[in-house]
Structure formats: C-alpha cells, structure tokens
C-alpha cells in the first residue's frame, strides 16, 4: 500500500513541471502585451518611459528562462505576485475565490452523494419498471439541458414566482441550494447511469447466484453484495469529479453572481491578467491531481482487490 502511494505521489512531479511550463509559456505568447494591459488598467500614458518602468516592475525585459525561474522560486515561497488589474496579491485573491468555489462544490457533492445511491437503487431494484424508466428519463434530461438555462429557470421559478429561495448572495445555506443543484445535475445523471449499469452487471454475476442459491433473502443480497460492489467504480469516478466540479463552475458562477474561481479566471483571461492566470493554472492542476490521487487511494482503501492486485 505504501509503495502504491509513493509511486503515485512521485508521478505528480513531472506532471506539475509540464503544467507549469505550459502555463508560463502559453501566456507569454498571448498577443495583448502584458505591459499594454497593465498600462490600460492603470490609465498610464503610452510613453516610452512609462513602458520601461512597467517592464522593469515586472521583470519583463529579462530573458524568458530567467523569468520562468524567478516565477518558480517565488511560487515555492507562496508568492504569486500581484494582479495587473487590481494590484492585489494574487495568492490572496485566489484563496478567497477558491474558498467560495469549494463551498459550492462541497454543496454539489452533497447532492451527488445523496441522490446518486438513492436514484441508482430506485432504478436497479426493478429494471425496466416505471421507477427505472422515470430515473433514466430524469438522467437523460439532466444531461441535455445547458447549465445556464437550468440556472435561469430555477431562479425564475423558485426565486421570483414561488419566492422560496433567495436569488442573490451567499449568506445562508439556502443560497447554496440552487447553484449547487444546477452544478451537480449533469454529474448526478451520469453517475446514476453508471451505478445502474454496474448494479445490473453484478446482478447477473456469479456471487449473486451463489448467494441466492444459499437462500439469503433478496433484500440482503441486494444490499450486501450488489450495492456495495457497484459503488466502487462509482466512488472512484466521483472522487475524480471533485476536480471537475471545482473547475466547472464558470457558467454557474456567472449566472448566480457567485464570487469564486470561475469568475476570477474568466475576468483574468479577458483582461490578460497574467499573474492570476498562471497562478490559477497551477492551483487547478494541483487540485485535479490531488482529487485523482485521493480518489485512487480511497478506492484502494475501500476495495481490497485493488490494493492486493498491485502485488499480484
């Protein structure tokens, strides 16, 4: 088990390296000059001396490789520089936005964790029954609606017509309901489908046959064997989806005015705010990698077959 963990962690380093180079390099190639951006944002006149001053401030006159290494060493000290447009510390901005998005993603996870098994069970208990049909339709529809349309509809229905949920802000837990549900719907739909497929597979499996032959009650068989076994691949995928949830909030945050990473990176890309974009890329890559790692480790912990399989 330990070897497994260590190996996974070691794999991260080359990946991160590549990501950092790509992030750094790609942005240096963007046509709107960093200098121009900064000057426009701060209403500086385009004089030669101003240009030189800004270039020096950001070390842009040094060779690219030097810039890369100074950036990397700053990052290792958790200094991500200052935003070009607002002159705030990027680390600060990123942390605040990350918290907001993480809260939203957490609430979405709650929906996923609760609804997926419930709907999956609904479905698989009596395949092709009406519960199954209903659930499958629900899932298929969940993946066919654009998120922003869903968001707007929910706001009109629950916020304006029925007035039971708040439309703006994030003060109370009620504010989380609509955006997190909209965020989670597509995921829930695909997980439920996956869970259902797994359960149906397992129903046909050998050990189910044996269990039934031994006379164990159907309900027990279902719970102990089918459900538990089916959950495993789903757990793995759900774990991986943590990363996707955190990264996929761009549209939802726009609709619900949620001050998270999605808004931050959208504004930064539009404004060519290099320091923010670079820091974001690194942060997201780390989040994804951690999410994948945790998902792998959790699966291994929960399912001995994976753990033991490593040795065999």
């Amino acid at each position: 088990m330990r070897k497994y963990i260590i190996k996974q962690i070691l794999m991260i380093i080359p990946t991160l390296l590549i990501v950092s180079i790509v992030a750094f390099g790609m942005i240096r190639m963007l046509p709107a000059d960093a200098v121009e951006t900064y000057m426009l944002a701060n209403h500086l006149e385009m004089t030669d001396e101003n240009i030189a001053m800004v270039e020096e401030k950001f070390g842009l006159h040094e060779p690219v490789v030097t810039q890369y290494f100074s950036w990397v060493s700053a990052v290792l000290h958790l200094d991500f520089g200052e935003s070009y447009t607002s002159n705030q510390e990027v680390a600060d901005m990123l942390w605040k936005a990350f918290k907001a998005t993480a809260q939203l993603a957490g609430a979405a996870m709650l929906w996923i964790v609760v609804l997926t098994p419930v709907l999956g069970i609904f479905s698989a208990k009596k395949p092709n029954g009406w519960m199954d049909g209903f659930t499958r339709m629900f899932c298929l529809m969940g993946t066919a609606i654009p998120t922003f349309v869903l968001g707007f509809f929910m706001i009109r229905l629950f916020g304006v017509q029925l007035k039971i949920l708040p439309v703006s802000g994030k003060e109370s837990w009620m504010n989380y309901i609509m955006p997190s549900f909209a965020l989670s719907l597509a995921h829930i739909s695909s997980f439920v489908q996956m869970l259902r497929n797994e359960m149906l597979e397992n129903k046909k499996g050998a050990f189910t046959l044996y269990a039934n032959a031994r006379g164990i009650k159907e309900g027990v068989v279902f719970r102990t064997h089918i459900l538990k076994n089916s959950m495993l691949p789903v757990v793995n995928t759900v774990g991986i989806s943590i990363g996707r949830l955190i990264a996929g909030t761009v549209v939802i945050e726009n609709v619900f005015s949620w001050p998270g990473l999605g808004q931050l990176i959208t504004k930064a890309i539009l404004a060519r705010d290099y320091p923010v974009i670079q820091a974001y890329i690194l942060l997201i890559a780390i989040v994804f990698i951690c999410a994948n790692l945790i998902a792998d480790l959790l699966s291994a912990w929960v399912d001995p077959r994976i753990r033991l399989g490593e040795k065999g």
Binding site: V19, P146, F148, V149, A247, I269, N292
Partner: protein
C-alpha cells in the same frame, strides 16, 4: 434470440432523421433572410409568415432555428469526428508501439487532462481571438485527449488477446494487425463514445456562446440564440423557448441513442 428494439428508439431515430433532412435542405427551406434586421418587426407573435415569431432584431426565429440546427449539429459532428479519429489513432498507436512514444503520449495527455477543458479552451480563444473558426479550433485541440486515453487503454487490452498474438506469430505486419484486428475491436466503443459525447459538445458550444467566446453573431447557432434569448426570459419568452426546445430534443435524442447502443454492445460482450 434477438432483442426487440424499444419503441423509443424508433421515435428518436425518426427525429434524428428529420434533423438530418433539415440540415441538408435548410437553405432551401427558409423563406426569410435570417440575418436581415427589421426593427419595426421586433417580437412579432407566431403567425403563418413567422411560425415562431420574430426576435429582438425582427428576424424570423423559425428560419434562424432551421439554419441553427444545421450549424450547431454540423459543427459539433465535425468536431467530434475529427477528435475521435485523431484520438483513436493516436491512442492505438501509442499503446501498440509502446516505449518512449507511449510514455510521451501518456504524460502529455495526463498533464493536459489534469486541467479543466473549459479553461483550456478559453485560453486558446483568448490567444487566437474570438471567432467561429477559433472556437472550433480550440475545441479540436482540447477534446482529442479523452479519446486517446480510452483508445489507448482499450488497445492495451486488445493487444494481449489471443488472436492478435496469433497474427503476430504468423508474421503479419503491424499495419495489418492494427487495421484488421485491433481497430475493429475499438470501433464499437468509439462509436458509443461518439454518440454520447455529441450532446455534450453541442452543449459545450452553447456554454461558450453564453460566455461570449463561441460562434460569432449574426450566424444562427442554437447556443448563441439561447444565450441571447436568456436576456428575454421575462419579456419575450418564446424567443428563448424555441431554440432551447430544439437543442434539448437533439441532445436528448443523441443520449438515448447512445445509451441504447452501449447497452446492446454490453449485452453482446
């Protein structure tokens, strides 16, 4: 014992056939110029000349929807086809050839996958400038990675199959093995992936239009019509309703179809 084809598949297929016809003949079917601005006709209600009414520029919503179907589905299918092809071939080659090539492909795709595709696409568009061609290019550059992964892991499994080993022993060339033994094995899975992802590509395009970096106006495209329509959700709901409904039905149809195909394949395996 052949399994019955469920009734819904007939409906879905008929609908998709209709979509195909619309796509092929859209330019002949429309009666109004879809980009002609006529501000005196804003928000006309449904009538015989304007089956779906007019939008906020006085354009015929029905005509725009017909063309939009062609554009949206056409663009999505092109993107999907290209990315699935590239991804499949690359993954297959990587897994078969192995060695350094495989390692490189693996590491690069891992690194790029550890990154939300939405953000990658946004950055590419920021780099190239927002235009119809560029959003397509950006999606092409990003979507192939997923298929490479799948194709690679599938090929790894297929490589070990007995018939492949046998073919090797008989001295068949790599090209033959790839084409005649491995590729067919991949086909079914990739077809499933293709159908199931089509919906999400169309939706992805819609999302980018909402953010302002998708298809350029005034080209009729479902995503941009919907995102422009959201601004009218309170006042002229029908302008939003029609393209939304159409998009929903198309994506739903692809999902149902893909779902059934994958079920059949699983049943066979």
């Amino acid at each position: 014992m052949k399994k019955k084809i469920p009734f819904r598949i007939y409906i879905v297929s008929a609908f998709l056939l209709l979509v195909l016809i619309v796509m092929a003949f859209a330019p002949q079917l429309i009666t109004h110029d879809p980009t002609a601005v006529d501000l005196l006709n804003k928000y006309d209600p449904s009538s015989l000349t304007y089956p779906f009414g007019t939008d906020d520029y006085g354009r015929c919503v029905f005509c725009r929807c017909l063309l939009a179907i062609r554009n949206s589905v056409g663009i999505a299918v092109s993107i999907e086809t290209v990315t699935v092809l590239i991804g499949t071939i690359l993954g297959m080659l990587a897994a078969y050839i192995g060695g350094v090539f495989d390692q490189i492909v693996n590491v690069v795709s891992e690194a790029l996958l550890s990154f939300p595709s939405v953000i990658l696409i946004m950055m590419i568009v920021a780099f190239l400038g927002a235009s119809t061609e560029n959003i397509i290019l950006a999606m092409l550059m990003v979507n192939w990675i997923w298929y490479t992964r799948i194709s690679r892991s599938l090929t790894l499994t297929l490589k070990e199959r007995k018939y492949v080993q046998a073919a090797k022993l008989c001295g068949a060339s790599s090209a033959t093995i790839l084409l005649r033994h491995i590729a067919p094995g991949l086909m079914s899975q990739m077809v499933v992936q293709f159908t199931m992802s089509l919906g999400s590509v169309i939706l992805g395009l819609a999302g980018f239009s909402f953010l302002g970096i998708g298809i350029q106006r005034p080209t009729p495209e479902l995503g941009i019509m919907i995102s422009d329509g959201c601004g009218l959700i309170r006042t002229n709901f029908m302008v939003l309703f029609w393209p939304s409904l159409i998009l929903f039905l198309i994506v739903l149809s692809f999902q149902i179809l893909g779902d059934w195909v994958s079920e059949r394949l699983r049943g066979r395996a």
